[in-house]
Amino acid sequence: MPPVVEARNLRRTYRTTTGTLRRRSLEVEAVRGVSFSIEAGELYGLLGPNGAGKTTTIKMLITLLIPTEGTAHVLGRDVVEDARWVRERIGYVFGGDRGLYERLSAYDNLRYFAELYKVDPAQHKRRIAELLDMVGLAGREQERVEGYSRGMRQRLHIARGLLHDPQVVFLDEPTIGVDPVGARELRAMISSLSDAGKTILLTTHYMFEADALCDRIGVIANGEIVGEGTPRELKAQVADGSVVEIEVYGVPDETIARLRGIAGVRAVGVEEREQAQVLVVQTAPGVELTHSLLAQLDGARVGRVSSREPTLEDAYVALVESA
């Protein structure tokens, strides 16, 4: 059986200009040869930092952007040549406040998109009621969207994306900016969609989200896929090493670069925690580097030092850093 979503060597270049009087044209490569495939019923996560090329990739797959190079197929059809056919069978949901008609009620928003997605008029009421119920907005549908919270808008987005019962659903950072409780509800909703047999492409930069939801993950950095596998396989890439966490206060970038240069150091991540920074240093197996690391931090104020087993997040950091 062919994959439901297949990207082959996708590239996307944006042209932009700089300067006012002497305008200069620049080319920015947002996606640089991305290839992956998603099987039927699979929940595939595209994980990467901001600006990695996740949204550009998804926009090429949903027919909104034409690839500069490469090809993409959804349900066996080319997304450029058979754009309308593909659109009828996919749903697209993105995160954030935008994408809804604020002055209309949730019901009117759904009714409009039900028309645009050619939902059988006889089924409109039933389908909209079903989806409102599913996303927990039943009883609030006649209120204008401008009064909705971020979480409610996001749930409405999901209902909108599912109106025509698409076979493939593209979710572009659906939990971004949503409070923890709301985000957990959204994740449960995504999980139930996957259980219902939908093929899903989810982009996120939240590690735990990808770990909890995805069957497979592609890590994207600087427009390229730098690692791919199940969450367990990705974790296994760094499982043989260990992680040293060092709490520091105001360490310059040059010092962090020096830490990266120590033999046996695989990756160094920096997490900001209030006034402190936590250096997350991944080390190769069988080496004890705590003393060498602290020696490089000589002169800096050091707080707590601890070591632990690597997690999926460490695998992600190592992959992104290696890009």
Binding site: T63, L65, I66, G99
Partner: protein, 257 residues
């Protein structure tokens, strides 16, 4: 065909609902036509007066419909961009022409208010009695004029999908169409070379049909021409739209605010 008509009707209704819910736009919409009408009435009162004031009334009314459409067609597309809905509309399987046309027809429908306001203002402030010799033809002429001005707005909006700053084009066309559409000045007073431009403008025939229906002429040929031109604008716009959208997808200009 039924589905298309239903989609157009629902799109028109929902966009009309959205546009009529803006208090600020509504306030401007109430005042604006009254200024057009007042200027027109004073000008014509100072001149011949009498039947020419009735002529001015209808001209000023259609000016309002055209202005409501030309100045908002561009900003409406820009608003879709700001709201993040433009990409969703383009990503839907419906031909974008069927999405865009109800938006611009809703704009020209909003302009209908200016007709009512102009005629009432003329009656109250200037004592102008507007005759309605053929009420049915008048209603038909009005509907066709609104539809064809909406279609002309659609043709303009096609360029707004592609070029973000094209809204300026709509503003730029507002006054020239007042003049060459014969809203206030009879076409016979314009130089001959201007007339072909007037003839290809549906509002020219629309305002003529409205005047004839009200004053007792035979407006059917003008109604037919107005309708045909409106249909031609839609056909031309739909043809150009596919290329404009492909270019926007190639140049990534759909999401840019």
């Amino acid at each position: 065909m039924r589905r298309t008509l239903r989609l157009l009707a629902i799109g028109w209704m929902l966009h009309l609902k959205m546009m009529s819910r803006s208090a600020f736009d509504g306030f401007l919409g109430v005042l604006w036509p009254l200024f057009f009408a007042t200027v027109a009435f004073f000008m014509f009162q100072a001149g011949a007066g009498g039947e020419t004031l009735v002529y001015a009334s209808f001209g000023a009314a259609v000016m309002g419909i055209w202005s409501a459409t030309s100045t908002t067609a561009g900003s409406a597309m820009q608003r879709e961009r700001w709201h993040g809905t433009l990409e969703l509309l383009v990503a839907s399987p419906t031909h974008f022409a069927l999405v865009l046309l109800p938006v611009t027809v809703a704009m020209s429908t909003i302009g209908l208010y200016s007709l009512v306001a102009t005629l009432v203002w003329g009656r109250v402030a200037f004592g102008i009695d507007v005759p309605l010799e053929h009420p049915l033809s008048f209603a038909l002429a009005l509907v066709v004029t609104v539809l064809s001005i909406g279609s002309l707005g659609f043709l303009l909006a096609v360029s707004f999908v592609r070029y973000r700053t094209a809204w300026a084009l709509g503003n730029m066309l507002e006054y020239p169409v007042w003049l060459i559409g014969g809203f206030l000045v009879p076409l016979t007073l314009l130089p001959f070379w201007v007339r072909p431009f007037s003839w290809i403008l549906a509002p020219t025939w629309g305002v003529d049909a409205i005047r004839q229906a009200a004053l007792g002429g035979s407006p059917l040929p003008e109604i037919g021409l107005c309708l045909a031109l409106g249909a031609a604008y839609v056909a031309a716009g739909a043809l150009v739209l596919d290329r404009a959208l492909r270019a926007a997808r190639r140049d990534a200009s759909l999401a840019l605010a």
